[in-house]
Symmetry: C2
Subunit: 437 residues, 2 copies
């Protein structure tokens, strides 16, 4: 099995100022190719540390991916280290990268300085992989089996800026494929929500055991995305996962909400478009939200999807009882009798926001995020979620609600309340029965 | 200078499923003690890799902090590795950790299994640092100068769950102080917002040059927190930073918003309480928000502060023009004449939400988050921000607005629009002149 190591260079990581997110993205991509990441590490802007550690990586793994340390001011350290490490005799200019530097700086009306010009110079033994998103070039260094590491090894040096590093990753993957025998690999990921990993594993135990030996299963749990199941096959060109996925759908039903990189909010947007097409008006169905304990998080998730303004009309964060009463039209009696954290109140919130925003669907939350507050009957971590809807054919208004119970951490509670509310909404939209025209 | 290394153990990190945030927090704390973190790294659940890498850390650094690999199911690998590494002959029970395990599981009504009981067993040469937040014990291994590494070295093994690891960090720092000569260290951090790092550096250049040699300055830039300036003194007990900070305040004025771990939203909450105390009513002043392009992010930031319900009444995310008109009372003419992204519209939004929520202050945003949309005069990355206020003494209503221009990344734009809007609000609150009663 091919192995890789990932190295991040930069003092700002070692003093805890920046959290390294590049390594995680890179390892996901390598993992998809069937390449095992043996270790990741971060070191400072120090030539000796860089050479010492990268030598070790080249000895121990086939592929080494380095990010960071290439900014115009730190250029010399990392490049010098790579120049020495690769046995390059000097530098050469990359006309392609120079052209990109010129284009980027001209667009920003910045005059090209000597520092910028120096960025287009790379160690003589390096092959340039173009970075179209920034001024620092991506570099590839190839060490043949005959050279000092005793095996073929390739080192890639990418910029530290996340969107530049991730942006260059596609070309790096192509280059890895050119240099190594990578098995034909296929993946299919199925996204589930609302079922704990252990329960899920139990539920699909027999299905998992019956998988053909060339199909591997991975569990990928995530607090906002739920548990995703990834099927992978290596070394076969004509594999189809369809029969397995059909069986899985039979076992898991509507806990499955999507595929690949789907999120609850993206799926909801898609469903509103699709259901709308078949509705009497033929128009995309619309959505609004009323948030209390989630404080804006649901709205933020919905609006993280580009193009959401087609279906999302907006929300009311009714943090005070007055806002619930005066803006959403929740009756003061309900709050007095049942409290703001109750099925009665959250259903009235959902109905209220749907009405004032005039949408087909709405979602609402009211709960105790903590860390303080709460009572024995309504403890921190408890929330009521509701979804209201107007049937696109009959015009009937319906509202449902659900109680959830989590723990004491405020930030985690807000995150979970929001995801569970979106999941309740997703299910309700999927149940909406529209007779095709 | 004392050096440290930080190691994360867990396959879930190497396949990119989890981003390691512990190392960053740990390095921040070590950095405050004047300890230099030489490297951070992540390895898989593999005994040989663990021993090989930790041996290297113990050789090369004085302090080694390990997180992860201690869950009940993975217990044996990491503990076995640490048992071998430390030359322990076997395991011993930690009665204190057993008691904690019993308490935690009883509270959750879970019966104590053999797996749980095994968690209280630790390598014989280890000193237990109690983990009060979880079932896995924190372990300390001390290697004296005479032992194989040729210098005194201490290894700490903490759980991987972030709140448990961070929760134990205080006791780890105490233990480090007991085992090493740590200089008397003092820090003071000043938080600024709205001034780029390079401009800031230029502005305080002379002040920085005039700092006494025992005071060191660090720039800590962060997209939502602004640039924080940290002053540190090492090895002196009677240091005060006050004279320096007074001068800094003179130079930077109201770009300084707080100290230490302050956030814009926490400072705003504090100001509303303080200003309210001196107002005619003596009550905490109140706040509401109207969001378009920020989609709920401002509300989410405000409600991330525990206890915010005392002053935060809520928000309207008016994503559609209808919501702006029907709920916030923005006139249709304004939108027709100037567009939704205009000073006229955003000021009407701020005035509207202040009115319907009946608050002392309100903040509003309208802009083009992207990635698509926008025109040459209103490009992606442009937004209008507004703050409306009711003077607590005169009752006069006032509204101000500001244009900001960023780049093309949707998520980054939303984050910046929200932070800049909070900063505009903060300044406006600070300008509110209340004559003391």
């Amino acid at each position: 099995m091919l192995t890789a190591s990932i190295c991040t260079i930069g003092d700002e990581i070692l003093i805890g100022q920046i959290i390294d997110t590049n390594s995680s993205k890179i390892s996901q991509e390598l993992n998809k190719l069937g390449i095992k990441v043996r270790y990741m590490f971060s070191i400072g802007d120090d030539t000796n540390e860089i050479i010492f550690n990268l030598e070790r990586c080249l000895k121990e793994t086939d592929i080494v991916i380095v990010t960071g340390g290439l900014g115009p001011t730190k250029d010399d350290i990392t490049k010098d280290a790579l120049c020495k490490l690769s046995g390059s005799k000097g530098y050469k200019e990359s006309p392609e990268q120079m052209e990109i530097i010129r284009t980027i700086l001209t667009r920003r009306s910045i005059e090209i300085s000597d520092i910028n010009r120096a960025q287009a110079f790379v160690p003589e033994k390096c092959k340039v992989i173009q970075n179209r998103l920034g001024t620092a070039p991506c570099m590839q260094f190839l060490f043949s089996k005959k050279e000092k590491y005793g095996h073929k090894a390739v080192l890639y040096s990418l910029p530290g800026v996340p969107f530049e590093a991730i942006g260059a990753l596609g070309d790096v993957i192509l280059d890895i494929r050119e240099n190594f025998d990578i098995d034909e690999i296929k993946h299919k990921t199925i996204a589930t929500f609302g079922i704990p990993e252990s329960t899920l594993a139990k539920k699909i135990e027999k299905w998992e055991e019956a998988l053909p030996e060339y199909i591997k299963l991975a569990y990928l749990p995530n607090p906002t995305l739920g548990v995703r199941l990834r099927l992978s096959s290596y070394g076969r060109s004509n594999v189809t996962f369809e029969p397995q996925i059909e069986k899985l759908k039979g076992l898991l039903g509507d806990t499955i909400y999507g595929e690949g990189d789907d999120t609850l909010q993206a799926v909801i947007g898609r469903m509103l478009r699709e259901k709308g097409k078949n509705s009497p008006s033929g128009k995309t169905l619309t959505l609004s939200a009323a948030e209390s304990c989630t404080g804006g998080r649901i709205s933020e998730l919905i609006t993280s999807v580009p193009g959401c303004s087609e279906y999302y009309m907006g929300s009311v964060t009714s943090y005070s009882n007055e806002a619930k009463i005066n803006i959403l039209g929740v009756s003061a009696e309900i709050i007095k009798k049942y409290g703001a954290v109750s099925s009665n109140c959250v259903e009235a919130m959902a109905l209220g926001v749907r009405k004032i925003m005039d949408t087909d669907y709405s979602v609402a939350t009211s709960g105790i995020a903590g860390p303080d507050g709460g009572t024995s009957s309504k403890p921190v971590g408890m929330a009521w979620l509701a979804v209201a809807s107007k049937n696109p054919q009959t015009g009937n208004i319906k509202v449902i609600s659900q109680q959830v119970n989590f723990a004491s951490n405020r930030a985690i509670n807000i995150e979970r309340f929001a995801s569970y509310a979106l999941n309740l909404l997703r299910k309700e939209i999927s149940y909406t029965n529209i007779t095709e025209k």
